[in-house]
Amino acid sequence: MSTPASSLPPSPSSARASHPTQATHPAHPSRPSRFTLPVLLVRWTLGLLLLWAGLAKLADPAAFYVNLLTYRLPLLPSGMLRFAAIVFPWLELLTGAGLLLNRWSDAIRPLAVALTALFVLALGQAFLRDLDVSCGCFGRPLFVWTSRPGFALGRALLLFSGALFLHFNRDDLTEAPGQKLESHS
């Protein structure tokens, strides 16, 4: 004898499908997440900024390489900086696209944390050493003061905190640990 579908208790996935805007905590599906809208806003902002930064660097990787040289990063040979100058923009592009599309979030969000932490480290050492560098984060800046290390460091810290916030707060579309959602893979 088959049980009618209407008499069955709604599963978390069906509840999610019927209310796509209502988020649940990934580890506790019955508990609604408090940070749905902030997570969405931070995810989109960070994704758009990373996408913009990646495209701007891809447009002129030679200028990005020259910018990297002015940071005078210790213990990094020129060849490694050249390699970073061609791979970094693509990493930013992939991370930004992944955040915007909310795909592979278990890998994309730690990658966003790592990328923004690298920004903070590079800009922090330039700020502490009082180096006269142009940030080069978003290609050619509209205003010169936006590429000063102090301003860029503040912006990088904001991005880093946003990435950490995303990493530790997951919205309804994120796969929970141990929970397999094939439709998102």
């Binding site: 891809l58 990787p61 030679a62 390489y65 050249r82 390699f83 100058a85 061609i86 791979v87 923009p89 693509w90 990493l91 992939l94 991370t95 992944g98 592979w104 278990d106 890998a107 994309i108 730690p110 990658l111 796969e175 640990p177 141990g178 929970q179």
Partner: protein, 72 residues
């Protein structure tokens, strides 16, 4: 009493399915991270190789030719 029939051997399952869920998730995360890094590296190498002003292996420019006037 008859002996129990032998249990047929089960086919081996992939490593990802044998792991507990938490480890499986971590396994998938590392695989995806490695794929992302590989994709970024390949894309970077290919686009840089196609550019006229390469960054990784810059083209060596020849010194400008010196014009030598023919001897009369």
């Amino acid at each position: 009493m008859l002996p129990a029939p032998p249990i047929p051997p089960t086919p081996p399952t992939p490593l990802a399915q044998r792991l507990p869920p938490a480890l499986r998730h971590r396994h998938r995360r590392w695989r995806r991270l490695a794929l992302l890094l590989l994709a970024a590296t390949l894309a970077g190498l290919i686009t840089d190789a196609l550019r006229p002003d390469r960054v990784l292996f810059p083209k060596k420019t020849l010194p400008p030719l010196e014009f030598v006037s023919p001897e009369p």
